[in-house]
């Protein structure tokens, strides 16, 4: 946990003190460091859901389902951060809270809805192999939206900034450093949260199994 706290403090120092103020956008641009960090980590978490789904369908081991379920929760948390910080930045810059026609914004909203639906599906089905199978398939299909979100700013006309291009990041070096540290800090946070949630799920299912076994004896 200590490296995580250290990285978080370092990321906040980078975003607020180390990185220079953007000339046109001003102070509000500093939302960008954690907005991008959260966006990267929601992709990473949803990749974990995809991996968990494939792993479960191949091996039928419940631990893969625990990975997928934990990654979904954490991914939804990070996507919520992206969807709320984006409009807070957009209001003073684009003069609107929510640009309805923008492909990046709308595909991200769809991504959030897909995984909220995944969580609803999980909670509505009884425990068992059918639930894990349906959720694995849903998680794999849902992941198809991640590349669509990533490439939406390249495939369609958008007002969303394209910061990272094939030739690198179009930013001041200090801004790149601050962004890099923020992304690393958010990644460590994301992995820590997934590991904590997975450990809880494993302990809970083991406790249930042992309870059932004891009651049967």
């Amino acid at each position: 946990m200590i490296p995580l706290y250290f990285l978080m403090v370092l990321a906040l120092y980078g975003a607020f003190l180390y990185a220079p103020t953007e000339r046109e956008m001003g102070e509000v641009q500093r939302i960008f460091y954690f907005h991008v960090g959260a966006a990267w980590n929601c992709f990473l978490a949803f990749f974990g859901v995809f991996l968990g789904g494939v792993g479960y369908l191949i091996t039928r081991k419940q631990s893969w389902d625990h990975l997928a379920a934990s990654c979904t929760e954490v991914g939804v948390v990070f996507t919520t951060i992206v969807l709320v910080t984006g409009p807070i930045w957009a209001r003073p810059i684009w003069n609107t809270w929510w640009p309805w026609g923008d492909p990046r914004v709308m595909t991200t909203m769809v991504l959030w809805l897909i995984y909220v639906a995944y969580l609803m599906l999980r909670s509505s089905l009884p425990e068992g192999e059918t639930k894990y199978k349906y959720c694995a398939v849903f998680g794999i299909i849902g992941f198809l939206d991640v590349p669509i979100v990533w490439f939406s700013i390249r495939w369609w006309r958008t007002i969303h900034p394209v910061v990272i291009t094939s030739s690198g990041a179009e930013l001041e070096p200090e801004m790149i450093h601050a962004l890099f540290v923020a992304v690393i800090a958010m990644t460590v946070l994301c992995v820590t949260l997934v590991m904590l949630r997975m450990a809880m799920r494993l302990n809970s299912s083991m406790a249930e199994e042992v309870t059932d076994a004891v009651q049967r004896v």
């Binding site: 954690f34 910080t85 807070i88 309870t211």
Partner: protein, 44 residues
């Protein structure tokens, strides 16, 4: 500056509520384990 403040306020609030959710889940797991240990002690 107000937008920046609210941006970061949202980030920490969302993370705080998720940590509260995790703490409650952990408490449920602990309760299950406690009940299990009590059941085993009664059997002994």
């Amino acid at each position: 500056m107000t937008y920046l403040f609210f941006g970061y306020l949202v980030i920490w609030t969302v993370l705080f509520f998720y940590l509260v959710f995790l703490a409650r889940s952990q408490k449920r797991v602990n309760d299950k384990l406690k009940a299990l240990s009590e059941t085993l002690q009664q059997r002994d």
